[in-house]
Symmetry: C2
Subunit: 187 residues, 2 copies
């Protein structure tokens, strides 16, 4: 709809920054569309037109927070790469800030597109790791298998179960999926 | 806090029924605490005192909807029992009503206790199936393995990914966890 870098991108940047700054200053629960609009120097109707409502805006901002900032670290082999990534993912997502973002991302998202962006970010990171392994000649699972058996169990625990969000759990899931691949190739 | 079957239980029943009936009559988005209180013949402050706010009440009602009504069907062997249960679980949870309940359950639930009830229901059903298998002398995985590798991937798809919510997917997850157990015993 809008040219990247044009007015649309500037509005998005200003509004996202206003949400982040105001969240830190007055707290999440005190945010309103007029308050955000004033800080971002846009009209409230600009926000309503573009995002629909406050919850949808917060969902969009949350997904931006969940976007990885860099490709996963290259530690030289598949198991180390995947374990380091899974441990960091669990650590970030299970933190109070991570939980709040996941919650916001899911909430103001009636068509599921923001939630879809979250899982696409995870899939992209996993794909980088698996492609590196393939380039090294290491056999490994496919992206779907890692989403189903490493990412999904971590997110299910974070959302639905108390406790058990430690590195040992992340490593166990990764070992499980790699062992299963060695015994019974899945990807 | 209150005796079962006493005033507290009657209030809960009346308020839950009011939410269900009004949701059908006027739609979810038109619900307000005063409207629900009037229908349930309680005061709004009774609702605020007990549930906190509308979202917390809707979360409680949603979890009640997600409570299984009967133990899983006994089809005579572990694989059939688990596949039938997983197919039905995915079918119900991925339906528009199921998604709305999961969403409500997660939302008005700052301490995670309602989400915890949802996963406890799934764990109880799986436990019934696995206990039956043990009684028949069939080896099988443990409850945690089924939660991680059958329930979690289904919920992750429902919440974060478009599509792929068909019976074949549920059956594939069940076969995967049983095959893994046969090759490399997990529970």
């Amino acid at each position: 709809m809008a040219r990247p870098g044009g007015r649309s991108a500037r509005v998005q940047e200003a509004v996202h920054t206003a949400v982040r700054d105001l969240s830190a200053e007055v707290g999440r629960d005190a945010l309103t569309v007029p308050l955000i609009a004033a800080r971002a120097e846009v009209t409230p109707s600009t926000i309503y037109r573009r995002w629909g409502d406050l919850q949808a805006l917060l969902s969009d901002v949350a997904v931006e927070h969940l976007r990885p900032e860099a490709p996963p670290e290259d530690r030289g082999d598949l198991e180390s790469d995947l374990q380091a990534w899974a441990e960091q993912f669990l650590d970030e997502m299970a933190s109070p800030a991570g939980r709040a973002y996941i919650r916001d991302a899911l909430l103001g998202d009636p068509d599921g597109s923001n939630a879809g962006r979250c899982s696409a970010y995870a899939a992209e990171q996993v794909d980088v790791i698996l492609t590196r392994a393939t380039d090294r000649g290491e056999p490994g699972p496919n992206v779907e298998t890692v989403l189903d058996h490493v990412v999904a169990p971590m997110m299910y625990r974070i959302l639905f179960r108390p406790g058990g969000h430690d590195s040992a759990y992340a490593r166990q899931l990764v070992s499980g999926v790699l062992d299963a691949g060695r015994g019974d190739r899945q990807g």
